[in-house]
Amino acid sequence: DQQVKQNSPSLSVQEGRISILNCDYTNSMFDYFLWYKKYPAEGPTFLISISSIKDKNEDGRFTVFLNKSAKHLSLHIVPSQPGDSAVYFCAAAATFGNEKLTFGTGTRLTIIP
């Protein structure tokens, strides 16, 4: 049972344009959401997060949007840069009584120069 889903395994975007990565979840107990970025042969690194009490969180070129009613979140990267090419994982947690992150399967983002 995949509780966190990233339905697009890959995405290609022109440099300078906006990249939008999507994530859906099924567990209504999830109340904290994170995006991780992974380069080949490296571990995932934390990118940005959002609590369920907010619907938007922005950090520089990265913005995460949360739509609780739709159980959907998205990561916007603007403008996209070649160094953004990586695999992006969406993750979710139910912060009371459950200390683990549940990850999606990842989306490989390729920025075309």
């Binding site: 934390f46 683990k100 992150l101």
Partner: protein, 117 residues
């Protein structure tokens, strides 16, 4: 150390052999996690430690898998009688403690790639 250190970075073994994977978390991090990523899959939770105890072992796929943590620091993941389906990248992560926030996120190591022939 400055980051989460895992060893070995690569391990090739024959089916039926036992393997041990080691994780050195960031100093001071009380929480430690093991995940694995099989080819084409997401990160699958295996086990979580708070200090030396493991409140959540729900992700361990079979009784061939076990993990321990000593001194609130180093952790070892042991896979007995390895099978080909155990081939994956095993990732360790650590954090300061319970709960998630912008100030308390998981920091991952580079992983140990296990190949079972």
């Amino acid at each position: 150390g400055a980051g989460v250190s895992q060893s070995p970075s690569n391990k090739v073994t024959e089916k039926g052999k036992d393997v041990e994977l080691r994780c050195d978390p960031i100093s001071g991090h009380t929480a430690l996690y093991w995940y694995r990523q099989s080819l084409g899959q997401g990160l699958e939770f295996l086990i979580y430690f708070q200090g030396n105890s493991a409140p959540d072992k729900s992700g361990l796929p079979s009784d061939r898998f076990s993990a321990e943590r000593t001194g609130g620091s180093v952790s070892t993941l042991t896979i007995q009688r390895t099978q080909q389906e155990d081939s994956a990248v095993y990732l360790c992560a650590s954090s300061y403690g319970q709960g998630f926030s912008g100030a308390n996120v998981l920091t991952f190591g580079a992983g140990s790639r296990l190949t079972v022939l």
